[in-house]
Amino acid sequence: MSTGQHRAPAGKNASPELRRVLDPAGSLVAEPPDVAEGDLVGMLRLMMLGRRIDQKAISLQRRGKLGTYAPLSGQEAASVGSVYAIDKGVDWVFPQYREQLAMLHMGLPLSTDLLQRMGHPAGSEIPVGVNLYPQQVALAAHLPHAVGMAWGLRLRRLAAVVVAYFGDGASSEGDFHESCNLAGVLKAPVVFVCQNNGWAISTPWRIQSAAESIAVRGAGYGMPGVRVDGNDVLAMYAATGEARLRALDGGGPTLLEAVTTRFGAHTTADDPSRYVVAEEVAAQRGLDPIERFRTYLRSIDRWDDEADALAVKWCDEEIERAVEEFDTTRPPDPAAFFDNVFVGEPKRLERQRAEFRAERAGR
């Protein structure tokens, strides 16, 4: 594939083999992980929800009701398989920005997520008790935070891990390197999940790096590098679960590369026809993670047309409810941006707020 992120391993210090449980056609090619019955179905439903959220969000954006939106289609399995493999009651998720599904699974309301993308301050609200860090706009800048959190959890003797998500583009940032290296030294309980979708906006992986893979970098930090078919939700589940257990055992961090596909544009502001050729798009569709998993679940009698219809209904209701909440959220207090900058607010800022309020009142 021309982005190069499926480059074949070769040579010395070669990339690890691509790990798969299901082949692209949905047939089992390795022992499946032990997933609770409800979670199997839950994962597919969440993936389906993601695909539908994209559709809704893109349409809201077109109508000017949403800001720039980064679709997740094609990458559902990478988020969902990994986040289902952790214990959301104790473990933590540090997202970049394309992991809405992991965020929702952790407990973020979909309406909050939409408000965030609409630029409403209420979109910054992460409910207390939800082990989720805010999404990060600056690429890889949250990775040192994730390491610090994992380090702190261990210092506090909590048996928990941190899953930190980022993309192939982000893996070129200095912060990626410093964070992985520090995590290795500390044996911090972190799972670094790199969603290698082959693109950083218009830049394909072969221009992003000459490395055969991102996983191959693990050795440079004294941690295992694992390469997983990111469109195979079961492989993601299995690999993340193993990395989590190793981290809890004191075995330190893992660099987990999820080789996946970005079906759409980078964001609603992007026009991929400028840089992607049509054949590639078509080829990618053949790797649909939802189709793959649904085929498998059908083959083991965990899914049928009725389940499908129910799931679609559930998705639509979830989205409808969220959009309703989103629509009825009142515009923010104009002075809201003065809040939560400081705990002990400098007098100068207090004055600025007072002047701001006075000026508005005087209109």
Partner: protein, 325 residues
């Protein structure tokens, strides 16, 4: 003269310089095949090839640092940072390296680099896409900092920047990228650094601004005129070098000044302008120099950014306060 938007003026200037100087090379994230997220490099790779218009990995520090090395090898690199908010990631290369290589090497190695970056709010962009921190750039010895407000100056100052032997940070107003359109001289057009532009002459008060807020100030000046207040609008154009004489001339004439910026108040570049004015023309001042500024908070999320960025109302209020002082 053609009427162009700022982004078109920038694109055509890059094209002209690529054409006339084979040492010019354009590098940055997504500048090549896609032509830049704002199309500022649209079509350049198709015209000049992937060796001269280069998509880089997502590595801001390496983009600026490699540009310095390219310059040391005799090239004339123009590095694009996709948004100024990601120049934070390159700040050690900008503040610690770019402006210092010439003095560090006693003049042996310059850093003939132009770093372009769109910045500022007004386009409903996400967090970190609209940060303005001109002062943290202007404070770096050895750097020039340029911030045009019109398409004509976008061309004239970019041409000067790319031919300048000193490193230049060239700031492009996101809000003016497509909205600001004016007549751009054809052919070679250089605007010298260190000369403010009198966007409109006036008598009662000087309002100083740069980049995306100049047009907002002009609007406020229109409204003030209706009130009988004659406002001189000074577009600084370059922050380093600063046109101290031009500023002093204007304020010593009007006796009053307001400085407008989008960045947070504390330690913003407006503070420098105020300090300079009171140093230069203290005895002419009939009122304190006021700052109309962003607040000491991060620029808010899109829904509130209009509350944060100085608007006509706030600028006008400051003009009145100053004149009535």
């Amino acid at each position: 003269m053609a009427v162009l938007s700022m982004v078109e003026a920038i694109r055509s200037t890059l094209e002209a310089e690529l054409r006339t100087d084979d040492r010019v090379i354009v590098l940055g994230e997504d500048v090549g095949k896609s032509g830049g997220v704002f199309r500022a490099t649209d079509g350049l790779q198709a015209t000049f090839g992937a060796e001269r218009v280069v998509d880089t990995p997502v590595s801001e520090a390496a983009i600026v640092g490699a540009a310095m090395g390219l310059a040391a090898a005799g090239m004339r690199p123009v590095a694009e940072l996709q948004f100024l908010g990601f120049a934070y990631q390159a700040y050690h290369q900008i503040a610690g390296q770019l402006g210092r290589m010439r003095s560090r090497s006693n003049g042996r190695f310059g850093a003939e680099v132009t770093v372009r970056a769109p910045y500022g709010g007004g386009v409903r962009a996400p967090e970190l896409h609209c940060d303005a921190f001109e002062s943290a750039l202007a404070h770096c010895p050895g750097l020039k900092v340029v911030a045009p407000a019109t398409a004509a100056d976008a061309k004239g100052l970019l041409t000067t920047a790319m031919r300048d032997d000193d490193p230049v940070v060239y700031l492009e107003p996101l809000r003016g990228y497509r909205l600001v359109r004016d007549e751009v001289p054809e052919g070679d057009h250089l605007v010298p650094f260190g000369q403010a532009r009198t966007a409109r002459p006036g008598e009662h008060v000087t309002v100083l601004a740069w980049s995306g807020l100049v047009q907002v100030v002009e609007e406020a000046a229109d409204l003030a005129a209706a009130d009988g207040i004659s406002v001189e609008v000074l577009d600084l154009r370059t922050l380093v070098p600063l046109d101290i004489d031009g500023i002093a001339e204007s304020v010593s004439r009007t006796g009053r000044a307001v400085v407008v910026q989008e960045a947070p108040l504390t330690a913003g570049f407006a503070s420098e302008v105020v300090a300079t004015i009171q140093e230069e023309v203290f005895l002419s001042l009939e009122a304190p120099v006021l700052r109309v500024s962003g607040f000491d908070t991060p620029i808010p999320m899109p829904q509130l950014e209009d509350e944060y960025i100085p608007d006509v109302r706030r600028i006008l209020a400051a003009i009145r306060r100053t004149v009535e002082y």
